[in-house]
């Protein structure tokens, strides 16, 4: 597990070799994490599943938000690595203290209860707020950053993609009567 490695400087071949050696699964699908350990990824995936759950539309897990978080924590969010490591550990620690299980192993209803408790906890709330914001970025943001796989959130919201160009037509004599693309 290349925990402290710099992704930009890693060659694909090296990454594959490291990944194959440790066979880390990041999230539900078998892939390689840049920052999260196997266990951390499991907890984060369970958290994502509650922050934006699956329903008739894809949720954060299907959208690849775990990959987004992992990618950013090895990149732009590198300064937040410690915050994440500590926050994830603390959430799991609390779950074990209360119910003897890690967050990912709790039933959904217990997970939601626990997150509501965390929202009232001044120690854990900052991390949870950060996580929620990052999950939203990964889910609703541009797919280039590692989340929003297949633009699932944009499809859910009905945001057209790609935008249609050149649809502006002018009737300068009667500007109010110009094209109404929603018509």
């Amino acid at each position: 597990m290349p925990r402290s490695s710099k992704p930009r400087s890693i060659r694909r071949r090296t990454l594959l070799a490291v990944g194959a050696a440790s066979a880390v699964a990041c999230g539900s699908r078998r892939r390689f994490c840049r920052f999260f350990s196997d266990e951390e990824a499991r907890t984060v995936e369970a958290l994502c599943a509650q922050v934006i759950p699956e329903d008739q539309d894809a949720g954060a897990v299907t959208a690849g938000v775990v990959n987004f978080l992992d990618k950013q924590l090895a990149g732009f969010y590198k300064p937040l690595q410690k915050v994440y490591r500590r926050g994830i550990a603390e959430i799991d620690h609390r779950c074990i203290a209360f119910g003897g299980k890690k967050f990912a192993d709790l039933p959904a209803s217990a997970q939601i209860d626990l997150l509501h408790q965390i929202e009232k906890d001044p120690d854990l709330l900052p991390f949870f707020n950060l996580l929620v914001d990052h999950v939203m970025q990964g889910f609703y943001g541009d797919p280039r950053h590692g989340g929003n796989r297949d633009r699932v959130s944009w499809k859910m919201l009905g945001v057209p993609y790609p935008p249609v160009r050149g649809r502006l037509r002018y009737d300068l004599d009667n500007p109010g009567a110009s094209e109404k693309p929603w018509g």
């Binding site: 759950p53 970025q137 649809r167």
Partner: protein, 550 residues
């Protein structure tokens, strides 16, 4: 090594500096225009909704970069924090050729007559340095017009009975209305208000050799992919360069302004794109770095004559830092109204800029630019879930049905809201960084809350089945509308520059950007920055006598 002496060095190629560069170089002065950022092109649009100048959670789209440009902020409890350029509290404005005008939303407002006479209109406000400008709207009117026609503005203000007198109409018609416009227009009329088409520095028809807006949703915060937004980068700066008298040097960071043995400005020391220290001698220096960086540069330019920094004999440099207090409301319509027609903002009212009982000013209210999905995430009503199934339902349900109306409340200037230079933290080049502290005036908050109510009433009249307000906290205000730190005035004891933007005690040093704004209007400030730049340049050129000022 010595660089060839020039007549004028202009620091900052934004809204102000770009115009000064063109006016001076076309008048025959030799000009060096320095910019700390890069020169981007329309190909740099990138449509990256997490990394642009509006939403910068993954970095600023057009600078400055996070690594080399920290600032220090002091919060309301006196806690200090070092912040990176894309971080909250930094109060960033873009660092690139064109400055904010490269990626802005491009509303092109003239301030109203009363905006230049706030003290005369409203009297003394306890705890505020509210004052009149030394110049009037009438002084600036010809220069507003010049900005509208040279840079290019579309829109139609004929429906606004409150606008100040003007000689010419706008050069371009407004963009055709989007759906929000068509809902909000009759609603405003029913309320007895006066809705009209927002003036925008955006081509609605081909103008100045560039095409019309294609109405995509990547507008405010992004480079315009078809170059239809009009900034200084695609109008006056190319003209300055074409004059043959102007040299643009990008990625140059000015260390300090140098003074000679007589206390006049002799040139500047700066780090070039290769981080080499250079000295550029000049007959005059124009500072156009934006309200925070202009103040920082003056404060960092200490010398025997100016131990507290240039222009700072009376401790006014960096004071009265202000921006706008944006408040408003969201309304949920009964059916989807999202039409994906950018820029989104199109309709405004100026009924509430002045004349609000008991309030010293107000704000223009307008519908908001298109909200990209991530931007909409935080627009949930207060107290509603911010995550989980309920939040997802809100997004799915509300995204295509929501209208946002908001406006920039004119702020009461506060003397202790200020830019200083930090005694400890330095940037990559070893230059002390800006240190921001202060808060909004309580009356600003009061006005802004009333404005939010007015926005909500408009949405209700438009048929919104649910509305909620967006209010403002008391924290420091500056942001992209930053202004006020080098106040213009006739009395050197309570201002930094005179009515021609000339620093009071240094006759060959000018500050030409929003720093000189005494008050910041209830409007986006850019057209006023441009008008001031044309106005000050005009005076400068007319008093120029070969190698100095008459």
């Amino acid at each position: 090594m010595g660089l060839r002496r020039v007549n004028a060095v202009i620091i900052g190629a934004g809204a102000g500096g770009g115009i000064v560069a063109k006016e001076l170089s076309e008048a025959g002065l030799s000009v060096v225009l320095l910019e700390r950022g890069k020169w981007y092109s329309p190909f740099d649009c990138r449509k990256d909704d997490l990394r642009n100048q509006r939403t910068c959670v993954l970095g600023n789209g057009f600078g400055p970069d996070d690594e080399r440009n920290p600032r220090v902020t002091v919060d309301l409890h006196g806690r200090e924090r070092t912040v990176r350029a894309s971080g909250p509290g930094y109060n960033n404005n873009a660092a690139c050729v064109g400055g904010g005008t490269f990626s802005y939303g491009a509303m092109a407002w003239r301030y109203m007559e009363k905006d230049f006479r706030m003290r005369s209109t409203y009297g003394h406000i306890e705890g505020s340095t509210l004052a009149d400008w030394p110049v009037s709207y009438q002084d600036l009117e010809p220069y507003y017009e010049k900005a509208e026609w040279e840079i290019g503005v579309s829109g139609d203000v004929s429906g606004d009975p409150f606008h100040a007198p003007r000689r010419k109409p706008l050069p371009m018609p407004p963009l055709p209305p989007n759906r929000e416009y068509e809902i909000l227009h009759p609603a405003a009329k029913r309320l007895g208000l006066h809705p009209f088409d927002i003036p925008m520095l955006r081509n609605s028809v081909p103008y100045n050799g560039r095409p019309a807006c294609m109405r995509c949703r990547w507008c405010v915060g992004f480079a315009c992919e078809v170059d239809a937004k009009c900034g200084t980068h695609n109008t006056v700066i190319p003209k300055a360069l074409a004059s043959g008298n102007c040299e643009l040097r990008t990625e140059c960071v000015v260390k300090q302004i140098e003074t000679d043995s007589r206390g006049r400005v002799s040139g500047i020391a700066y780090f070039d794109a290769g981080n080499r220290l250079q000295y550029q001698a000049a007959d005059l220096v124009v500072v156009s770095c934006g309200a925070i960086e202009s103040a920082r540069l003056l404060l960092n330019s200490k010398s025997k004559f100016f131990p507290r920094g240039l222009g700072n004999r009376h401790d006014w440099v960096g004071r009265n830092l202000q921006g706008h207090t944006y408040t408003g409301a969201f309304g949920l319509m009964p059916a989807p109204i999202y039409d994906d027609l950018g820029p989104g903002a199109g309709i405004a009212i100026c009924d509430y800029n002045h004349g609000n009982a008991g309030l010293a000013g107000g704000a223009m209210l307008a519908n908001e630019f298109i909200r990209l999905p991530y931007q909409f995430v935080s627009m949930v009503p207060a107290g509603k879930p911010r995550w989980g199934k309920a939040h997802k339902d809100f997004m799915r349900d509300a995204y295509r049905r929501a209208i946002a109306i908001q406006g920039p409340t004119q702020e009461m200037p506060v003397f202790d809201s200020r830019v200083e230079v930090d005694p400890a933290i330095k940037d990559f080049w070893g230059i002390p960084v800006a240190r921001l502290s202060g808060s909004r005036h309580s009356h600003t908050i009061e006005i802004s809350s009333v404005m939010a109510g007015r926005a909500e009433a408009w949405l209700k009249e438009a048929g919104a089945i649910q509305t909620w307000r967006k209010l403002s906290g008391p924290g420091l205000s500056a942001g992209q509308h930053q202004a006020g730190t080098c106040r213009m005035g006739d009395d050197p004891a309570v201002s930094v520059v005179n009515r021609y933007c000339q620093v009071h005690d240094v006759d060959n040093l000018f500050v030409i950007d929003a720093s000189v704004h005494v008050t910041n209007g209830g409007f986006n400030p850019v057209l006023t920055i441009m008008a001031i730049a044309y106005y000050a340049s005009d005076r400068l050129v007319r008093s120029w006598k070969g190698r100095g000022l008459a």
